[in-house]
Symmetry: C2
DNA sequence: ATAGTAATGTTATAATATTACGTTTTGGCA
DNA sequence: TGCCAAAACGTAATATTATAACATTACTAT
């Protein structure tokens, strides 16, 4: 994400946290910034490395606590199938996203298809299942990487 | 799964492997049986414990190799959001399943909604994304556990 | 029988995540 | 203000999940 957008999202995050009466502390802010700056999802230990830039001796709990907070607040998402984390680019409303993960280049697109989200929820309901958190991740190849492969 | 169904699925697995010219060895068979017998998903290390029943000194690779094989052959599935594995109850056709995971009791239902699978694939296609493996897991509460909660 | 491949054995280690407990910081309020 | 309780953070240890690397055995096809 470019600097301008980053700043915008960070300001949004700050105001959301203020509204909710929760604290976007400097550590949490740092983790969120690293996630948003990155083109690709980061593992908890990638983040731990990055945190050395802003903290003397960060330990795993430092990162995992910040991540827990960001996930709770919808400011970041965990990609379960690759154990990695991304910043959310539109955290201003609760949402059930779908993620497209390129197995070749590692880039991830976040999609928010309300029809799909609704279909999933309803399919659960049909058998009495109450969905709290949907995990929808498509592993595959992005447009760029598919094109590269075709040209071989 | 009860013994009768277990036997049926195991026979199906055997004939599928024979057709495909791949080997359902005794270790792979054992892992698949443990998965199918279990009411709940098993972690790789749960399986490792169980493997002590049939092997003197099983090590992690023993289990992970068997799991890799079963996943490749569509005889088992991995639940990414809980790092656990389940046996597939209808492995006779390739399929994109959805899983409903109860956060309370841990039980898992496998659903195969072709409309949803298709919608997801198409949503990817719309932006040039080629889906290879969809991961769809709904975390929530099953009918039983929801009922129990309501009665509180 | 034997060469080539697939499967397994074995040891070690990597990568991801949590527990437990002590200390510091913060915000509310007497 | 000064005190309290809750939240956040520091730190060490450990648990859980997964893979690497290399040796050995077993199967299959000629």
């Amino acid at each position: 994400m470019n600097k301008k957008d980053l700043k915008k999202v960070m300001q949004l995050a700050e105001s959301l946290c203020e509204q909710r009466g929760v604290r976007l502390t400097s550590q949490r802010k740092a983790v969120l910034e690293f996630l948003l700056e990155s083109e690709k999802p980061l593992s908890a230990y990638d983040l731990l490395d990055q945190m050395r830039e802003v903290l003397k001796n960060p330990a795993p709990p430092t990162v995992y606590r910040a991540l827990d907070f960001l996930l709770e607040q919808g400011l970041a998402h965990k990609l379960e199938s690759i154990s990695a984390y991304v910043g959310c680019v539109h955290p201003d409303h609760p949402h059930a996203s779908q993620f497209l993960i390129c197995a070749d280049c590692g880039e991830v697109a976040e999609m928010e298809d309300k029809m799909i989200a609704k279909s999933l929820e309803n399919a659960g309901k049909a058998i009495g299942f109450n969905t709290i958190h949907p995990v929808v991740e498509l592993m595959g190849t992005c447009a760029d990487c598919s094109a590269k492969k075709d040209s071989n």
